[in-house]
Amino acid sequence: MTVAALTDEGLDGGAVETRFAVPDMHCAGCIAKIERLLPQQPGVRAARVNFSSRTVAVSHGPTLSEPDLIRAFDSIGFEAQALHSAAASQRGQALTPLIRALAVAAFAAMNVMLLSVSIWSGADGSSRHLFHWISAAIAIPAVAYAGRPFFASAWKALRAGTTNMDVPISIGVLLATSMSLYETIVDGEHAWFDGALTLLAFLLAGRVLDEMMRGRAASGAEALVRRTATGAMRLAEDGSSQWVGADDLAVGDRVLVVAGERLAADGVIANGRSRFDLSLLTGESAPVTLGEGDTAAAGTLNLDAPVTLRVTAVGEARAIAEIARLMDSASQGKSRYVRLADRLSRLYAPVVHTLAGLSFAGWMLSGAGWHQSILVAIAVLIITCPCALGLAVPVAQVVVSGTMMGKGLLVKDGSALERLAQADILLLDKTGTLTLGRPTAEGAATIPEAQRPIALALATASRHPLAIALRQALVGLGVSAAPLEDVVESPGEGVSARHEGRAVAMRRPRESELAAEADDDRAAVALDLGGDAPIIVRFADALRPDAADALTQLAELGLPARIMSGDRSDAVGTVARQLGIPGEGNMRPADKMAVLEGEIAAGRHPLMIGDGLNDGPALATAHVSMAPASASDVGQQAADIVFLGDSLLGLPRAVRAARAAMGVVRENLALAITYNVFAVPLAMAGKVTPLIAAVAMSTSSLIVVANSLRLRSAVK
């Protein structure tokens, strides 16, 4: 597709908005650069930076795909990662009502607290009576509005015959409010309006943070099946052809697959010979040549020439549908993980109910009368408020994931951090994960210096992966392109042109030219640059920089590594020896999944790192998984954490950050529990006044927040 065509297509139809994470923005200059230069790229209409979240909202034509836009970011010098917009807007929808409720609760609490402080300072008689009435007038509508999230959830739990954290909260708030109203009417001494509202405000703050960390359901399997073609050109007996949908294909049909088309069904090649991109199923990026009698799976991309395919499997029987099923079942297993906060709240409700019930019964038995007994029970419900408990986990996770985002690590949900902190064994895919997954020119420096500008100009004329790799290598050497005339690109052959009257070319090498190094199976390109002999440049899939360093650091953190790859065993062996870790090749997606299931059954917590579609089931099965930003859609969706950039050092960094976060979470929980150990006996003894409750509740919550903020420097 040429640039001009892209512009025209990009301008019809309505604009689409896509959000990208761009962690490299550091200053006002970056904002200005992105917002000014990005709209100058073909098809892009507008870009709006959100510096706080390090994201950019790009408004663009509907035909521009995410990879196109990522290239556009690349061309102005930023690395970007697409964020899925539907999920972001869903999250916003759940968040806004909570923030509004928090605002109402906090403002009402402040006003009531002002009146309560006057009462505690000695206002009595008619002033106290008046202040209580004003408090009631503010508190009752505020509780009715801000308490709705809790009441709704508690009601749902009670109707289902279960109990959750919201049940004691709702009972506590409602009892405190109605008892305070009674006290106000009879001109009693203590009203708990301020306690009920402060409780709601702190709890809502925890709820808001928790909502920010909640993961969205990843539908990796769905994205996988979308990658197959929607239909195919069916050939009839008489030689005529007709386009039919994928659902209408039957086993035995003959279909024509032209170059650039994906297969809609599994089949055997009946006629023709072409190169195929099998990366969808194997993760191997180098094209494979298939001829008559070879089998090809749905989702495979035909690169070169038209072939005729005899269909052998359709619909659910296709290999790709099998992967989708594996991923579906695997992600169901992962959703069984119960977050720490949820585990605690399951314990919390029965304990609090019992304590409040016991205090009420105890005071009744000692002959205190129902009025005082209920007041004590309310004090217990309020003082055991899980404010600090509700803040303990989300505050720490929000702080850490915010700092991780700044370092190019995108955490999808809070439970991923909990699971990552538990990881104790590392399983890696090879292609695209340990290696860059794209060719790197190795012999670019052997091109004579005078001829490098011509080579660069030729490489720039093509979008073939090898040409792009050569261009990057030459640009890295500080070369600038020479002018060329009559540039012609012929698919499968290369680029030819004229430079100062002489014919020059970048082309596929001939058999004879490679004969000298017949045992070298790396991809190669021949360059005719006006010299005598053509220059052969070799390409290899290089290891990511710092791969060895990252693996050493992970081993020190207690995560021994192992390679699981779908690639050939000898290729895996080479990389494994280079890094000094065990490795296994020729593994199918189901094999990888079986290894992970075995590790989990043995009580270990595997961290899986992979990128290809073939890693999808493994990423979904693993206790926790990470994928590079260069991974396929499915890989990124199945992974819990996505890391940007070529360096693997983000992996040990993420593990350290997750462990630091869980350390702080545990400290927070210990603080919250210590607070309750001291406060609950006081409340049960009837010694807690609204003043003590207000001070204790705020202090414990603030300590937890302050402790969590220490994590801002934890991601190094």
């Binding site: 959100n50 109402v104 403002f107 006003n111």
Partner: protein, 51 residues
């Protein structure tokens, strides 16, 4: 006591104003990008000749 009858409604009115202002600013998107707002003031928008 008479002072209170004026001052309390006044205080409540002012704080209600605060709440309304907060909800308005939330709706207007003022909290969407606090760091960016601090940075944008530094962007020099003058493309034309200075004089």
């Amino acid at each position: 006591m008479n002072g209170l009858l004026i001052l309390i409604p006044l205080a409540l009115l002012l704080s209600l104003g605060g709440l309304v202002a907060f909800l308005w600013s939330l709706r207007a998107g003022q909290y969407d990008d606090p760091d960016g707002a601090a940075m944008r003031i530094l962007i020099d928008d003058d493309e034309g000749p200075t004089g």
